[in-house]
Amino acid sequence: MIRNRQPSKQMLKLLAALAAKPLAWRHGYDLMKDTGLSSGTLYPLLMRMTEQGLVEAEWREPVQLGRPARHAYRLTASGFALAGSIVSEGDAASRLSLA
């Protein structure tokens, strides 16, 4: 999916947190702690990014016995590509500002 709008600051934080461990499935509460986003910002963002095909979500069995299954998230190939393009744009911008 092609995004025409610039990603918001909150989305950039979430993309960075998810891209830091691209293969790992991350839980909502851990992402809140990592990004500093509130649940009221994180979940609508995750819903939107899942709809846009940037994030995939699935129910994962708990690590500890007796705990309920948890919804987990990770970047899709498109999400990872978007995160990569933002990082390279950022690098180019910082190189230009240093030149």
């Binding site: 509130s38 910002t41 609508p44 819903m47 309920p68």
Partner: protein
């Protein structure tokens, strides 16, 4: 903030989500348990509630909930006003005078006659205003519960009570401003209750709800 309050807020948040997002609601619920273990459940639940509220205008269930709550609020405001008037009536019956009767008495012979009529009508008006306020509260409740038949019957009762009040008011209190407002309010209720009922029936009959 107690865990009990956080649980209540979380339940409200989950009720704000549409049926399509039930899976996301379950996801929030499991992470809420995590926040509970971490000792920060209230902030988490409040965030989810705000997210739920912000999404309300963007899905059919949310729009219906907003409309029915707006109507309920529109019923509760006049109900509170009517109960306030009934309370003033009780005060008048206990003390035997209020500023309106004092104003009538000061208005000469015709004023004194009106003041006597006003005082004589006070018990009946007080009782009717108390009934009208209470019935409006019950209509609001029935509307939120989606019990349209009950809401319609209560609306008929409210209209009969309002008509009785208007009848007494015409005989004792000069001026038609209040009467016009009462008729306008009844007309709005008459239009709003069946409209909401039809809206809910249309939603219940939609393929989306039949699947759910």
């Amino acid at each position: 903030m107690s865990a009990g309050a956080a649980h209540i807020v979380m339940s409200l948040a989950l009720r704000c989500l549409p049926d399509d997002d039930r899976q996301w609601g379950q996801a929030m619920q499991t992470e809420f348990d995590q926040a509970l273990r971490d000792g920060k459940p209230f902030g988490f639940a409040l965030g989810c509630l705000i997210a739920g509220w912000r999404a309300l205008p963007f899905h059919a269930d949310g729009r219906f909930a907003l409309a029915s709550h707006a109507l309920a609020l529109g019923l509760i405001v006049p109900a509170t006003f009517h109960l306030g008037c009934a309370l003033s009536g009780v005060k008048l019956m206990v003390s035997g005078h209020d500023h309106y009767s004092a104003m009538l008495v000061a208005g000469g012979v015709r004023g004194k006659v009106l003041a006597d009529a006003y005082l004589a009508a006070a018990p009946a008006l007080t009782l009717l205003l108390f009934l009208l306020g209470s019935v409006h509260f019950f209509i609001a409740w029935a509307t939120l519960d989606g019990r349209w038949r009950r809401a319609a019957i209560l609306w008929l009762a409210a209209t009969a009570i309002a008509a009785a009040i208007v009848g007494i008011a015409i005989a004792t209190v000069p001026g038609t401003g209040g009467i016009a407002i009462q008729f306008a309010a009844s007309a709005i209720e008459l239009a709003a209750i069946p409209l909401l009922a039809m809206w809910q029936n249309a939603r219940a009959g939609s393929p989306h709800h039949m699947e759910a």
